[in-house]
Symmetry: C2
Subunit: 305 residues, 2 copies
């Protein structure tokens, strides 16, 4: 057998990937796609790295609230901040989207873009996953890293299309995934260019610009990339429309869903506090999308295992 | 002398470009920049192609209004459409930004992204510049095409950062400039993903998402590219902030302004109906930006001359 994608077990999922790449890169082939059009889009949370028990960015938000609390005495009694400071994250999130937006804006806006990048880098240098005690950047899926490399070695351009914050991912996506900042797409807030003490800066404003999830994902793909991908990789219903859009093109395409089936080496869930995999799983059959079972299809999940 | 950049006369401007590229690409050099960080941003109208007597996209808007008029009998008496249909473009634009937005939305929204791309391609295949009777895609500056190639051959990644519509430029930017859709940044309207007769489409909505001019340019650069360019090329005060942001980085950088000084081979103006070059010219001295005079520095302006 092949030594390509070594962390993938031989089986239907791996074979589907190899067949697809062979099909679009071999010349002459009726399904040949020129290199420039070989666009592959990847969801991030739960597809490229662990999202359980909650998004890494949520851990970041809560840590930042605690770090900033001394400058905000009012947070001690003000929802949802007070719940975060008491360590009651369920209560903090009980306020729904409104509470979440408040927490995000309090921690993601008000500084310059350069300052925010530094904050993210500093935090990721030490913050650890609560169960494994590994750095979050070590909680990336080894088979997906191999897949990214494999696609790029066949002249695919790899993009992240995530509901997570665009500037939260960019400071480390190149080092960890080999994906440069300009190929990272995510949710975003508004910014303003201004001069501060004679130096131009870009200031982050507490107002949503774009929410890159569900219907937002194909819209973002068109907006940022400007052409339809031929391969899309996701793990939840938040990726459904991205998979639909990608695989509705006229040529060959690949849709793939990573399913969290391994409670021993990772976590076993279709539905978590972060989202669920229902409709995309139902559609996967009629659409011919590949469903990867982490337990069955991956012989290694994390590089350190 | 060198055969690089053959349409550029030997002189200060050409030398400044060659020196800058040598400085950031030679290893070891204190100013060395790794390939991934060699980001170059180009304004489009008036910098890469002709913007006189008005933006090409404005010609497109007026032609589309005339083409769509039979389906809109109300336009015969309704401003600003009636003025366009009478051929009185000054009167049409007298309504200022509000009138312009109305004209743009009536011609750029309501269709799917694929349909809009087809409309733009069809129009550009035949639409001609009123003075030269050349296709608009032949009204691109040969020295700038050479510069784009030269930078790319030294591992620069070239981007367009234009006030023009992002989806108006993408259908032809790769063919004409060698710049792929995902490296074209411009002004944009909102879109919505939906299913039409069981087929996913992206529908263009009549609402502004992002205006990519002046202060918007550095904000867009950070938003779409996520890192600071090391070279910026513009021709008007709409590019001032992009030049400021690019050249305020900590390493070596190049800011360059194309000045329209050739009334014989192109058009001679600092100020036109489309914009003006005043503040950027003033700042160019203290900032050390290169000012290119088209008459003095370019021995050829258009490939067909």
């Amino acid at each position: 057998m092949t030594t390509l994608l070594p962390s993938w077990n031989d089986g239907l999922a791996k074979q589907a990937i190899l067949d697809f790449v062979a099909q679009v890169t071999a010349e002459p082939s009726p399904a040949f796609v020129p290199p420039g059009d070989r666009i592959a889009v990847f969801d991030n949370d739960g597809t490229l790295w662990c999202e359980y028990p909650m998004y890494v960015q949520a851990f970041f938000v809560f840590d930042r609230i605690r770090a900033l609390a001394p400058q905000h005495p009012e947070w001690q009694i003000q929802a949802p901040f007070a719940s975060v400071l008491k360590g009651d994250l369920n209560a903090a999130l009980a306020g729904g989207e409104h509470a979440l937006v408040e927490l995000v804006m309090a921690t993601h806006a008000g500084m310059t873009s350069d300052e925010f990048t530094a904050i993210v880098k500093d935090w990721l240098a030490t913050a650890k996953h609560p169960t494994t005690q590994k750095l979050f950047t070590e909680m990336v899926y080894q088979p997906m890293l191999e897949l990214l490399d494999y696609l790029r070695s066949h002249d695919f351009k790899t993009f992240i299309v995530s509901g997570g914050g665009i500037e939260f991912m960019r400071p480390w996506a190149e080092r960890v995934y080999g994906i440069p900042p300009e190929q990272v797409i995510g949710s975003s807030i508004k910014t303003r260019f201004e001069q501060r003490e004679g130096k131009p800066v870009i200031v982050r404003l507490p107002e949503l610009l774009f929410f890159d999830d569900k219907e937002g994902k194909p819209a973002a793909i068109q907006h940022y990339i400007g052409r339809r991908p031929i391969a899309a990789f996701g793990n939840s219903d938040g990726d459904l429309q991205m998979l639909q859009w990608t695989t509705a093109g006229s040529g060959a395409s690949l849709g793939l869903i990573v399913r969290h089936t391994d409670g021993d080496r990772e976590f076993a869930y279709d539905t978590s506090a972060m989202g669920s995999l229902k409709q995309a799983l139902i559609e996967s059959e009629q659409q011919g999308w590949v469903v990867v079972g982490m337990q069955k299809d991956w012989n290694r999940i994390f590089a350190w295992q």
